[in-house]
Symmetry: C2
Subunit: 319 residues, 2 copies
C-alpha cells in the first residue's frame, strides 16, 4: 500500500458505475423499452448498429396546435423503410401511433417535432451478423423546430449550391429515410463558407438534388417543379403536390440544373421542420423580385390551413 501511495501516477483510476451527464436536453418525452422517459434518458449504446453503422431508419412528423399533420403517411413510410432494411418491431402502426401521441401528450407540447426510430440494435451474443440483431424502437417528442427562423420566413432564405454530390441511389436507397448526412453536412459548411444560410447539394449529373433536411421547388410561368432523382420523397414535398392538385396548379418532378433553378420566378424548400419556406437568393442570384412569391405564399397559407382539417390531421389526446 505504501508503494502504491508513493506511485500515484501509475495507479489506474476507478471505474465509476454511473455516467454523470452535465448536458442540457430540450424538454420532451421519449419512449424506449416500454417506458416513457425525459429526453435526458433517451440514449442508445455506442455499440448499437444504429450508431456504429448508421444502420437505422426513422421518420419525423410534427404536431401543430395540438394536431399531428399527416401522421398516417409518415408511419407508412417508416414501415416501408423498415421492410427494405429487413427490420422488424413488435409494434404495429396503430400501436406506434398511440406511442407517439402519448409522448406528445406527456410532453404537454402543443407544437412538437416527433421522431420514430428503428435501429438494427445488437445481438445478445454480440454477433456482427445483422440478421441476429434485435431491432430497437425509440420515439420522442420535443418542441417544434424549423429550418428557417421567423425573419428568414419573411424575407426568404439565402441558399448556396455546393458541389458535394448527394449519396446516389445505387449506394443508398433514398426512399429509406436514413441518417447518412455527411454529404449534407459538407454542403452546409460549404454554404456557410460562402456566406449563405443553408445549402443545396447536387446529384451525380450535377443537377440540383436537395438540402439538409429539405426538398426544393421552383416556380416558373406558374408551373411548379421539383427534382425527381435521388432525393428523399418528402411528405411535405408530397403535400405540395396534393395542394397543387386542389389549386389546379401544374407541378412535376424532373431534372433541374443550376441555371434553371436560378432563373425561376420563385423558389421554396419543403420540410417537416418548417413546412414551405421561401428562398430569395441562390449563390449571388436574387430569385424573382427578391420577395416571397405569390404562389409560394398561397401554398404556404393553404398548407397551414390544412393543419386544422381532420382529413389531414389527427388530434392529440392530452387527457
Amino acid at each position: 500500500m505504501t508503494l502504491a501511495a508513493a506511485e500515484p501516477a501509475t495507479a489506474l483510476p476507478a471505474i465509476e458505475q454511473q455516467h454523470r451527464d452535465q448536458r442540457h436536453y430540450p424538454h420532451g418525452v421519449a419512449f424506449m423499452d416500454g417506458q416513457y422517459l425525459p429526453m435526458s434518458e433517451a440514449k442508445v449504446s455506442v455499440l448499437d448498429w444504429g450508431f456504429l453503422h448508421s444502420d437505422a431508419t426513422y421518420d419525423t412528423v410534427h404536431v401543430w396546435d395540438g394536431r399531428f399533420f399527416r401522421l398516417d403517411l409518415h408511419i407508412d413510410r417508416f414501415f416501408r423503410g423498415m421492410e427494405k432494411l429487413r427490420m422488424k418491431l413488435p409494434y404495429n402502426s396503430s400501436e406506434i401511433e398511440k406511442i407517439l401521441s402519448t409522448c406528445v401528450a406527456l410532453s404537454g407540447h402543443k407544437s412538437a417535432y416527433v421522431e420514430m426510430i428503428c435501429t438494427r440494435g445488437g445481438s445478445p451474443n454480440f454477433s456482427r451478423d445483422p440478421r441476429q440483431s434485435e431491432n430497437r424502437f425509440i420515439a420522442f417528442a420535443v418542441p417544434f423546430g424549423s429550418v428557417a427562423n421567423k425573419e428568414q420566413l419573411e424575407r426568404g432564405l439565402h441558399v448556396a449550391i455546393s458541389n458535394t454530390v448527394r449519396i446516389p441511389p445505387k449506394s443508398i436507397d433514398p426512399t429509406i429515410k436514413n441518417y447518412h448526412w455527411l454529404d449534407l453536412v459538407k454542403g452546409l459548411f460549404d454554404a456557410y463558407d460562402y456566406g449563405a444560410e443553408t445549402a443545396l447539394i447536387v446529384d451525380i449529373n450535377d443537377n440540383i438534388a436537395e438540402g439538409p433536411g429539405f426538398n426544393v421547388f421552383t416556380v416558373k410561368g406558374g408551373r411548379l417543379k421539383t427534382p425527381a432523382y435521388g432525393v428523399l420523397a418528402g411528405i411535405t414535398r408530397q403535400t405540395v403536390f396534393d395542394l397543387c392538385g386542389e389549386l389546379r396548379l401544374s407541378v412535376s418532378a424532373g431534372d433541374i440544373d443550376r441555371d434553371e433553378l436560378k432563373d425561376s420566378d420563385e423558389v421554396f424548400i419543403t420540410s417537416t421542420a418548417g413546412g414551405i419556406m421561401p428562398v430569395s437568393k441562390i449563390d449571388e442570384t436574387v430569385v424573382g423580385d427578391g420577395k416571397v412569391g405569390a404562389l409560394t405564399r398561397q401554398l404556404t397559407d393553404l398548407y397551414w390551413e390544412k393543419h386544422a382539417d381532420p382529413a389531414w390531421s389527427t388530434a392529440v389526446n392530452y387527457a
Copy 2:
C-alpha cells in the same frame, strides 16, 4: 379519483425518471466526460448529431497479447478525420493514447478491440448549426473480434460480389473513417441471400471497392494489388504495403474488375478486426487451388510477428 379509476384507458402513463435497460453488453470499459465506465453506461443521446446525422468520425485499433498494434497511425488518422470534419476535442494525441490505454488496462483484456469516437455532439441552445455544436469524445475497449472465425481463417472465406455501389468520394470523403454503412449492410444481405459469408461491393465504375469493414487484396504471379479508388485507406491495408516492402514483394493500388479478382491466384481481406484473412471462394469461383495461398500465409505470419515488435506496437500498462 373515482372518475379516473373508471376510465383507465384514457389516463396517461407516468413518466419514469430512469431507463431500465435489460440488454447485455460485452465486458469492457468506456471513457466519456472524464469518467471510466462499464460498457452498459456507454451511451449517446439520440439527439447527438453523431447519431441523428451520423456526423462523426472514429478509429479502431487492436490490442494483442497486451500490446497496441500501430496505435500512432490510428490516432493520426483519427485527428485527420476530425480536422476534415471541422471537429475539435480538448485532448491531444498523447492524452488520447493514455485514455485508450487506461480503458484497456481497466478492462483487463489482453486482446481487445479499442475504438475512439468523435461526434458532432450538440449545441447547448439546441441550434441546428453544426458550428455551434460541442464535439464529443468517447472511447472504449471490448474483447477482440474478427471478421472471420477460426474455421474461416483456416479454409478461407466465401465472398459474394454485390451490385451495391460504395458511397462515392464526391459524396463522402472515404479518407474520413465514418459510420455510413448502409451500402455495406445492403451488400452483406445480398451476400447472405447468395449463400456466401461476406460481401464485396463495387465502385461507381463497377470495379471492386471494399467489404463491410475490410479492404481486399489480390495476388497474381507473385504480385499484390488492392483497389485504389473510393476505399478507406485501412491501416491493415497500409501494413500489407509495409510488409511487402520488407519481403520485397510487388504491391500496387489500382482498379480491379470482377474478372481480375476471380482470376487471382490468391485473395485476402484486411481489417483491424482480424488482420489478414484468406478468401477461398468468390461467388461460384474457387480462388486458386481453393486453399489458403502461400503469400497470404507468409504475410499473415509476419503480420502477427510484428505485434511483439516495439517498432510496431506499444505495451499497455496494466499496472
